[in-house]
């Protein structure tokens, strides 16, 4: 099923970065099991990691 979801993500993602971010988030959810915790910080870190880094506003800046 993972392959099916990963394949669907690859199919619908508008960019390589979005695909990688969603894959990372999906694996994050798989690894976390069904715990009802808040993962905002982790999510943000994953998004930030996979986000395109081009452009002056996106260089050398950390969110935290």
């Amino acid at each position: 099923m993972n392959r099916k979801i990963v394949g669907k993500i690859a199919e619908v993602a508008g960019s390589e970065e979005v695909k990688e971010a969603l894959n990372a988030l999906f694996m994050f959810e798989v690894d976390q099991g069904s715990g009802g915790f808040q993962y905002s910080a982790e999510y943000e870190a994953i998004l930030d990691k996979h986000m395109p880094k081009s452009g002056p506003d996106r260089e050398g800046v950390t969110l935290t």
Partner: protein, 662 residues
């Protein structure tokens, strides 16, 4: 994936038991036991081993089991031994590709009394993978491994009991949610939904932070910064002016100081001039004195000066006369001297010839004359013996006086020349006292200007230093704000990116759930029809899950029989649904069913369903836990006919309070 072996130690009803699913039981295994014999305990042993929780509520002949500690209580007579005891479940599994793994969970308990049992520490989970070379190797994160290979969310769809089977399609209005939930969970599409939800929260958080950043102090700080810079520039201009003024004052002072040097030189020249004039006056005074002295001296000593040559001449004549014999011997020059000194006339009484007398007389006369004159001189000048000395002295003094006068005159001329030269020099340089006073005033003014400029410069420097400190602080704050702005840009980009991810997750979610629903619906139709054809012939035309996740059973005659199925048909539909979920899930799950056929009263139907299930396992392992009558009525024959071996039987020994597997 299939379960090869389950070992149970000190768990619930089991003191020590092992279930091996090998040989004929490798794909289909049946375990038969009366209520309370340990079937549910075995199901719970599986879920506890995998997930650390017991999922099923067991029963005893007298009712439901109390949630006592899961440690085996031991024999009724003896109870638990005081001390420590470990509950342990171990499941060995094998994947379709041949990989093998052992999952073991254990919990230590402290037994302090007959019914006093407390867990000690945490549960310990091990997952070991068998490799071709190193035997079993432990997995670093066993919980993670299980989450990836046997996620807890799909547990309800591979371990099913009667209640669960009955629940799926009960027409209570919530069946759509259950079906939808099952499809979402078995296909892990719910994870995409969770991703979508959490991305929404992340976006909200980002937008909130954006809002905070947009309300930053940058504008205010920039205004303050510009004001400070303007003030700094003003102060710097003031400082520049003060420095110029200071430099000018210093230049003036240096120039005036240099010119003041001329003043000193002037003063020196004037002093020299005054000294020269004084010297000249002194020389003139001394010259006057000297000339007066000279006149007085001449006046006093002049006679002597005049007589002295005559006396000397006379003496010389007398001496000559004496020496030549013209003067009688008695008349010795000494006598003449004596005569001169004593003014004696008796010299004429000695015997001289006429000529001699005549000459002598002349001499006498002369002598007398001289004597008279000498006497007068004697009277006037004193003894004539000192006359020559006095004359010589006179000459010397006169010469000295003349020299002094000459010298004084020379000095006077020198002084005059110097005085004239100084005056000339002063006139040449144009040095005047008035100018010098003006110069002094200018110098004083220059010093005052220097003091003002120094003070102004110090104040300006102090103000500039203060302003620079303020500017540095504002710059620091501005950098923070600018970083915030940059972060704002980053936040904006992240919000946009989050939107893109949300959009993609939404689309993946929608497409996958539709796609999976269709797949489940097709598989359900496939399994259900196979089951029903064996039991009901052509009564049912198909089964499906519609877009609203409602189950439908198409019956002959064009009506939906989903709400009118018998208990057995419902179970069949649920089993077909479970089979369908298993096919679509992508996980190689065994199917573990606890008392699946108890609601099917017709043993023929039961046998047909069993047969159909066996025919459509598609490689999926099936473990059946059944009550004895359930097994005997509809399953045993089918299994034996299919050559799937005898069932394992569970018996609960009341004496030892332990389940025995046979």
């Amino acid at each position: 994936m299939r379960i090869c072996e389950i070992s149970v130690n000190n768990y619930r009803a089991y003191k020590e038991a092992r279930f091996e699913f090998i040989g004929q039981r490798a794909n289909v295994a049946s375990i038969v036991g009366r209520p309370g014999a340990g079937k549910t305990a075995l199901l719970n042993a599986i879920t506890w081993c995998l997930y650390g929780t017991e999922s099923f509520r067991g029963s005893t002949p007298n009712g439901y089991r109390k949630p006592l500690p899961l440690i085996n209580k031991g024999s009724r007579e003896g109870g638990l031994e005081i001390g420590e005891s470990t509950a342990r479940i171990e499941i060995k599994i094998e994947f379709d590709d041949g990989r093998k793994a052992t999952i073991r969970r254990e919990q230590l308990f402290a037994v302090t009394g007959p019914n006093e049992v407390e867990p000690v520490g945490e549960q310990v989970l091990h997952v070991m993978l068998k490799s071709d070379t190193d035997g079993y190797m432990p997995v670093d994160e066993p919980s993670l491994w299980i989450a990836r290979h046997l996620p807890d969310r799909i547990r309800p769809y591979f371990i099913l009991n009667t209640e669960r089977l009955e629940q799926f399609f009960v027409g209570d209005g919530a069946e759509q949610d259950r079906v939808r939930g099952a499809i979402l969970e078995i296909a892990q599409i719910d994870l995409l939904g969770r991703i979508r939800t959490r991305l929404g929260k992340v976006k909200s958080g980002l937008l909130s932070r954006q809002g905070d950043r947009k309300e930053g102090r940058r504008g205010e700080l920039e205004e303050e910064y510009e004001g400070l810079i303007a003030r700094l520039e003003t102060k710097q201009e003031e400082l520049r002016q003060e420095r110029i003024a200071l430099e000018a004052a210093n230049a003036d002072i240096a120039d005036l100081t240099a010119r003041m040097g001329e003043r000193d030189e002037f003063r020196e020249l004037v002093g020299k001039q005054e000294a020269a004039e004084a010297g000249l006056e002194e020389v003139k005074r001394q010259l006057a004195v000297a000339e007066e002295d000279l006149s007085s001296f001449i006046a006093q000593e002049g006679a002597c000066i005049l007589v002295a040559p005559a006396v000397r001449e006379l003496s010389d004549e007398i001496e000559e006369a004496w020496n030549s014999g013209r003067i009688p011997a008695p008349i010795h020059p000494d006598f003449l001297v004596k005569l001169r000194d004593q003014d004696q006339r008796c010299i004429c009484g000695r015997g001289l010839g006429p000529s001699e007398y005549s000459a002598f007389d002349a001499l006498i006369a002369r002598h007398q004359e001289l004597s008279e004159h000498g006497r007068m001189l004697q009277e006037m000048l004193g003894p004539s013996a000192t006359l020559l000395e006095r004359a010589a002295d006179f000459r010397a003094r006169l010469s000295a006086l003349n020299s002094a006068v000459d010298e004084l005159k020379q000095r006077g001329r020198t002084f005059q020349e110097r005085k004239d030269a100084i005056r000339f020099e002063l006139e040449r340089r144009g040095l005047k006292d008035a100018d010098l006073r003006l110069l002094q005033a200018k110098q004083d003014a220059a010093y005052q200007a220097k003091e003002r400029a120094t003070t102004g410069k110090a104040m300006a420097e102090r103000d500039i230093s203060g302003l620079e400190s303020q500017i540095k602080e504002v710059e620091r704050l501005l950098k923070i704000e600018m970083k915030k702005d940059r972060n704002l840009g980053q936040l904006t980009a992240l919000v946009e990116f989050t939107d893109e991810c949300i959009s993609a997750a939404d689309r993946a979610y929608d497409e996958l759930i539709t796609q999976t629903r269709v797949e489940v619906s097709e598989a359900l139709n496939d399994y259900f029809l196979k089951m029903m054809r064996d039991t009901r012939g052509e009564t049912f035309l198909g089964a499906s899950i519609d877009e609203g996740f409602s189950p439908h059973v198409d019956a002959v005659g064009g009506w939906d029989a989903a709400g009118d199925l018998s208990g057995g048909e419902d179970v069949c539909l649920a089993l077909a649904f479970s089979q369908a979920l298993g096919r679509v899930s992508g996980f190689e799950l065994p199917l573990i069913l606890d008392s699946p056929f108890v609601k099917i009263l017709d043993h023929q139907i039961m046998s047909d369903v069993m047969r159909t299930m066996l025919a459509n396992l598609e490689g999926r392992q099936l473990i059946l836990l059944m009550k004895p009558e359930e097994y005997r009525l509809g399953v045993q024959e089918v299994l034996e006919t299919s050559g799937l071996g005898e069932a394992m039987r569970l018996e609960f020994d009341e004496n030892t309070q332990t389940t025995v597997v046979s």
